[in-house]
């Protein structure tokens, strides 16, 4: 078990939404965010009038059953989709109305994605996978490699950077994906069911890694249908039928502690 004071410090570090200076722009500011899809005669309101503000440094879970709108919310927050109505500001920039090519750049600069099924390039080794996003930003190859090694070091995989995904376990693959999400120094990490394809212990390890990153200041939004996963975050947004019906702040459970391995 970790010493109790460390756990308390973590709890404090994970969730301090009110600590920012009042002048700082929120990381995410959505007002009346809606996404409607035409369907037959009617309209499917996948997301309908969501207001939410997330401050830098938060670790937030978006929860709900399938069809609740949490994935649509993630797509909009991740600039993969554009809202039908409402406004969305990401780090002070109104991104709701940007053209697709500009949205691609915003994704590259401000957001790191982590997916349920990892989405690594199967032919490339871990290093190349982590270097890949920087290619689209015109970062010189040497710097790319340097950064990718740093990112892999952060997730504890520097020794395996020459392994291809098939030579890595599921948890290791997800850590490569997290390194890839970190490598451009994003404002926000978006994780879509990051533990969904992992066994529970490996899932805990991933959540512990997220918590450690969050303590270091990385903002994370994690979409999940699993309340146990949401418990590791400091705030849970509950979606149902396209609406945000509950926004709850809570003390996070320490994932590292739950692994039950004493740390040096």
């Amino acid at each position: 078990m970790p010493p109790p004071d460390r756990g308390a410090a973590q709890a404090h570090g994970v969730n301090r939404p009110g600590d920012d200076a009042p002048g700082d722009p929120p990381l995410i500011e959505a007002r009346g965010l809606s996404r409607h899809f035409p369907s037959g005669e009617g309209v499917v309101k996948a997301l309908d009038g969501v207001d939410v503000t997330i401050r830098p440094g938060e670790f937030v879970a978006a929860m709900g059953p399938s069809g609740s709108g949490k994935s649509t919310f993630l797509n909009l927050i991740g600039c993969l989709d554009q809202p039908t109505s409402g406004t969305y500001r990401l780090a002070g920039e109104a991104v709701g109305a940007l053209p697709p090519e500009r949205l691609a750049e915003v994704r590259g600069e401000k957001i790191g994605f982590v997916f349920q099924s990892f989405h690594l390039l199967p032919r490339e080794d871990a290093l190349a996978n982590v270097m890949m996003p920087m290619m689209y930003r015109g970062i010189p190859p040497r710097l790319r490699r340097e950064r990718a090694e740093m990112a892999l070091e952060r997730v504890g995989l520097k020794e395996r950077m020459r392994h291809t995904p098939s030579q890595l376990s599921g948890g290791q693959q997800q850590r490569v994906a997290i390194a890839r999400a970190l490598v451009c120094g994003p404002e926000l990490i978006l994780a879509d069911e990051p533990t969904g394809a992992l066994d529970s212990r490996t899932g805990l390890e991933i959540m512990a890694l997220f918590q450690a990153l969050n303590r270091a200041g990385v903002s994370i939004l994690c979409v999940t249908h699993d309340a146990d996963v949401a418990a590791f975050t400091g705030r849970t947004l509950r979606f149902r039928d396209g609406r945000l019906f509950e926004d709850e702040r809570h003390a996070p459970v320490d994932a590292a502690a739950m692994i039950g391995v004493p740390f040096a």
């Binding site: 970790p2 797509n75 991740g78 993969l80 989709d81 697709p100 090519e101 691609a104 750049e105 994704r107 590259g108 600069e109 994605f113 997916f115 989405h119 390039l121 032919r123 490339e124 890949m132 996003p133 920087m134 290619m135 689209y136 930003r137 015109g138 970062i139 010189p140 710097l143 950064r147 740093m150 990112a151 070091e153 952060r154 997730v155 504890g156 948890g171 850590r175 890839r180 970190l182 490598v183 451009c184 120094g185 390890e205 991933i206 512990a208 890694l209 918590q211 450690a212 990153l213 303590r215 270091a216 200041g217 990385v218 590292a256 692994i259 391995v261 740390f263 040096a264």
Partner: protein, 436 residues
Amino acid sequence: MNVIGRAGIQQAPTPLPPLPPGRRAGLTFAEAGAAALGALAANKLRAALTALGIFIGVAAVIVTVAVGAGARQQVLSQIQSLGANLLLVWGANVRMGGVSLGAGQRPNMSWDDAQAIPREIAAVEAAAGTIRQQMQVVNGNQNWSTWVNGTDSAWFTAHEWVVAEGRFFSEEEASGGRKVALLGATVAENLFGEDNPVGREIRIRATPFEVIGVLGRKGQNPMGQDQDDVVVMPYWTARRSVMGASRAFARSVGSISVKVAEGEDMAAVEEELRAFFRQRHRVAANEPDTVNIRNLSEIAATRDASARTLSLLLAAVAAVSLLVGGIGVMNIMLVSVTERTKEIGLRLAVGARRADILRQFLLEAVLLALLGGAAGVAVGIGLAYAMSNFGGWPVLIQWDAVALAVGVSGLTGLFFGYWPARRAASLDPIQALRHE
């Protein structure tokens, strides 16, 4: 062992320092190329089979163009060997008492006609009257049946002969009827083998002749006759020593070779020649010409045109095969886009713009086609050389056609790769990421 836990706690990972702004947005050409090559390398067999269509097309273009050009080159060199700007005159059908004797059967032109032509027609550079007859030529115990020509030194000019060994005969030897002869390469080989015949003696109809020269090799004429199977001697020598001059035909010639000066209109000179002979032979207005005039380069030009048609036809077949190859490229690129939908979704999610995706897939198609094209060039050139070395075909590799074939194969990739690449670039990232 809990690596993450340890890494997480001990290193308490600080976020990476801010990434400096890139030099520019998007992939460089080299990066897109490397990504495309990587994708091709991952599916080597499929890439190879797809490139096969382009490969066959390009190899076919190169070989057919080389064969076509070789054939034309051969025809052109035959025209050259006949002598450029050459008109051949020989006697027309002669009727005696209602019986046609056939062209050239009865000599009706004389040595003096030939001598008069350059004086009368300004555009004529040289004219050589010639008699020829098939005879047995003997050197020791070797003998060879060949065409013996008695002619003027102007004949060498008109037919563009050169001497390989020795010399042409002089004016004195010609007018004096001296017993000298030049041998064509074929005759020299058959009578003397490897030996140099110059200065040696041959016998024709028991008359000894001194060999003063060997003619340079010309090869076959467009009619397939060996132009080197020939012995040449002065006209008066032939007349007096071997051809048996009957009184009636003592000055006759069988044909006259007329060399027209460079830049003159051949057709016009042909007309002047016709008029010259009508006047000189006193042909009545209602009578046919006494001579036939043939422009040998015209015959060759016809053959050249047919060779050209053939090579055009072959090139068209090759173009169709390139087209089929291009469709193969498009097909496999569409498959590739479908297979890599998730990868495309990922790349879009991490900041790739549609232009980056388009470029990557387009480059992949172009590289695929170019690889096929390059292999086609290598094999095409190899095949052309093999045909020339082992098959004895006249082959001439056209480097501009090679460049064109490579260019066209690249363009084929660009053209047939555009639609699949466009499809890849217009994928919806959300759908693409969810694609299984």
